[in-house]
């Protein structure tokens, strides 16, 4: 009944004092779950663990994810009530049907102890802005209603998820009282380039914690943190889309929740929503990060350097699927940006770095390199231009796509023959550049834009 106590405590906490609390309490009465989802959640009644799987047209992979989650909960939490909730964004394929029909045969598992309770499986649509964040909101609300003590979310496009992921994401919360478990994967060097170019270095240099996969997509969350997320006024913004992962990680760090990482092995997944526009994804992620920089200005400005975040799980090496890259095309994209968007970049990037980037546009492909210091300053210039609103924010973020593609081209060239360890060492140098250039960021942040 710990879950029920938690709900009561939360409600009392919201209504005891303060206008802000009353607003939160009023907002909670506006139910975020659609009626169908609400009815089905109430039918379940109570759960100790809720595992959420957001989806949109993932019929090809979600069956494997559901089986792995089911097996993990059966194997590692046999004495607890568990619910698997698929929050679907209007799939036009068989995704929801696959979730309902997927079966885990008893022969698939050799169990030392058998589960005391059946695992409930719900597949419900969500309301609100179409996107992963809205799906998460639905999952968190269901977890709150069910009185769950721990919640985990996993992507529905995963091909490498194993039952052990459930234990690694949930056990630190139930057994050690942690609030947020971020994933730590082994990924191909050309996988997760937005993380490597922006999210990891920026999160680390700003907030002083080395969370390697801040937008990994698979997280463990405590009840009180899930409840805290629900009270925030962000669900109509880019957070409701691809900004959700970085928002969750940053909020957990900045609001002093206990954060750790879980080593999950390899991450092999389908390309993220092939229909999605890369520029829009970049806008949502960067826009959320830069907005959070404004929200948590008093947190990141005084911080210097960074520290490790505890990592649970047994580390091992794995083979990874190769990823093909068309570097020439990326460089052409960057050059196109330099030709046509230079006037915009002049308003954002400091003149000396822009001159260096302009030189790059005319060099041979094999000499195409963007140094860590220049890249760190360019990212900081983007953040400052966003902060000072030197132009329409959507234009600013969209115009950064060729710069990012240029960085990827440079990274691919630098790491062409590198091992995974070499690549990590190179990313470590990039992060150190971000940390050493932080004074530059603070100066620009408070002084004005690069062009001003």
């Amino acid at each position: 009944m710990a879950g029920a106590e938690w709900i009561d405590a939360g409600r009392h906490g919201d209504t005891t004092s303060g206008i802000g609390s009353r607003v939160v309490a009023m907002r909670r009465r506006e139910e975020v779950l659609p009626p169908e989802a609400l009815r089905r959640v109430r039918d379940v009644g109570h759960a100790d663990i809720v595992v959420g799987i957001p989806s949109c047209n993932n019929a090809a992979t979600i069956g494997h994810v559901v089986r792995a989650v089911h097996a993990g909960l059966t194997k590692y939490f046999p004495g607890l009530r568990c619910t698997v909730l698929n929050s679907d964004g209007g799939s036009r394929d068989e995704t929801r049907e696959v979730v309902r029909s997927t079966r885990l045969g008893d022969a698939d598992l050799l169990l030392l102890s058998h589960p005391l309770f059946p695992i409930h499986r719900l597949t419900v649509p969500y309301d609100g802005i179409p996107g992963k964040g809205s799906a998460f909101r639905c999952i968190f609300r269901a977890a709150e209603l069910l009185g769950a003590r721990a919640c985990a979310v996993v992507d529905s496009d995963l091909r490498s998820i194993t039952p052990e992921w459930m234990q690694l994401l949930i056990a630190p919360i139930l057994e050690h009282g942690l609030d947020y478990v971020a994933p730590y994967y082994l990924r191909h060097k050309y996988d997760g380039t937005i993380t490597n170019a922006f999210v990891y270095p920026l999160t680390r240099s700003l907030y002083g914690v080395r969370v390697r996969q801040p937008i990994g997509g698979d997280f463990g969350i405590s009840a009180r943190l899930a409840s805290h997320y629900l009270t925030r006024e962000v669900w109509e913004s880019d957070v409701a889309r691809y900004g959700i992962d970085v928002w969750m990680t940053t909020t957990a760090i900045c609001e002093r929740f206990t954060v750790s990482q879980a080593f999950l092995g390899a991450k092999i997944h389908d390309a993220k929503d092939p229909g999605a526009d890369l520029a829009s994804m970049l806008v949502q992620v960067l826009g959320t990060m830069f907005t959070l920089m404004e929200t948590y200005e008093d947190v990141w400005v005084p911080l210097e350097g960074s520290s490790e975040v505890p990592l649970v799980g047994f580390r091992f090496d794995v083979g990874l699927e190769p990823i093909a890259v068309d570097r020439e095309r990326m460089i052409r994209h960057f050059r196109g940006g330099m030709t046509d968007l230079k006037a915009i970049w002049e308003m954002v990037v400091n003149p000396s770095d822009l001159a260096e980037l302009e030189k790059l546009a005319s060099v041979e492909a094999r000499e195409f390199r963007i140094s860590p210091d220049i890249w760190a300053r360019v990212v900081y210039d983007l953040a400052c231009a966003f902060h000072h609103r030197v132009m329409d924010r959507d234009h600013l973020l969209r115009s950064s796509l060729p710069l990012y593609i240029g960085w990827v081209a440079s990274f691919v060239e630098e790491t062409r023959d590198s091992t995974a360890a070499d690549v990590e060492a190179r990313l470590e140098r990039l992060c150190l550049a971000f940390e050493s250039q932080k004074r530059y960021l603070i100066r620009r942040w408070f002084a004005g834009t690069a062009a001003a």
Partner: protein, 234 residues
């Protein structure tokens, strides 16, 4: 005959002299007022720009979040813009003074007509201003989208967008001000029709390869793995 001609010429000259004597001081005064206004305006512009820069007006303006608005209409420095507005106001006031010095009745008449026309003029200016903002915004959107989609004609498309929006804005403003209504309407119709046809042809030619590839993709969706870019950005 000769005397008559001489008398007429002398009378004309005397009348001219008399007119000149009465008008010239007004003209001179008007020119002096205008010149002083222009010089004073230029000085005020320089001084104001210097003072505003020294007081970090740009940075304060930036913090108000109004820079993006000015930037949209092509103004990169708020202090320079404010100084120029001040200069324009001084020159405008000087011009009115000059007009009064020239002919008070004419100036009064002009001022009255101007005041009657002023609301139309202001609305026309607002239409033009809104058109300029929209043109700049859409042109930049088109340019960025074209670059991000690796299209080579980004600047051309952006320029066409800007021109198209401004043509519409100017036509609407002229229509509102009552300037050459029929001519503007006819010209606009011809231009708009021409641009539409040209754009349709250009898009048709430009996208035939895209359409071909799209159709090929529809027919053979499984042949995507051609060794191209499969990088996972996320």
């Amino acid at each position: 005959m000769g005397d008559t001609i001489r008398t007429v010429v002398e009378q004309a000259w005397q009348q001219f002299q008399a007119q000149m004597v009465s008008v010239l001081p007004h003209v001179m005064a008007a020119l002096i007022v205008l010149a002083v206004g222009i010089v004073f305006g230029a000085i005020v512009n320089r001084v104001a720009a210097w003072l505003l820069k020294a007081s970090q007006f740009d940075r304060r303006f930036l913090r108000l979040g109004l820079f993006a608005f000015l930037e949209r209409i092509g103004i990169s420095s708020s202090s320079a813009f404010a100084a120029r507005v001040l200069q324009g106001a001084i020159v405008f006031v000087a011009a009115i003074f000059a007009l009064y010095a020239l002919d008070a009745r004419l100036a009064s008449d002009l001022a009255e007509r101007f005041l009657l026309y002023l609301p139309h003029l202001l609305v026309g200016l607002v239409i033009l201003g809104a058109g300029a903002i929209l043109a700049r915004f859409l042109a930049r959107s088109v340019l960025i989208a074209a670059v991000n989609n690796e299209m080579r004609a980004g600047r051309l498309l952006s320029g066409l967008t800007r021109t198209g929006v401004m043509v519409v804005a100017v036509a609407v403003a002229c229509e509102h001000l009552g300037i050459g209504r029929a001519t503007v309407q006819t010209g606009f119709a011809i231009l708009f029709g021409g641009v539409t046809v040209a754009a349709a042809i250009a898009v048709g030619f430009g996208t035939q390869d895209v359409v071909r590839r799209w159709l090929a993709g529809l027919l053979e969706p499984s042949k995507r793995e051609d060794g191209g870019d499969t990088i996972h950005h996320w």
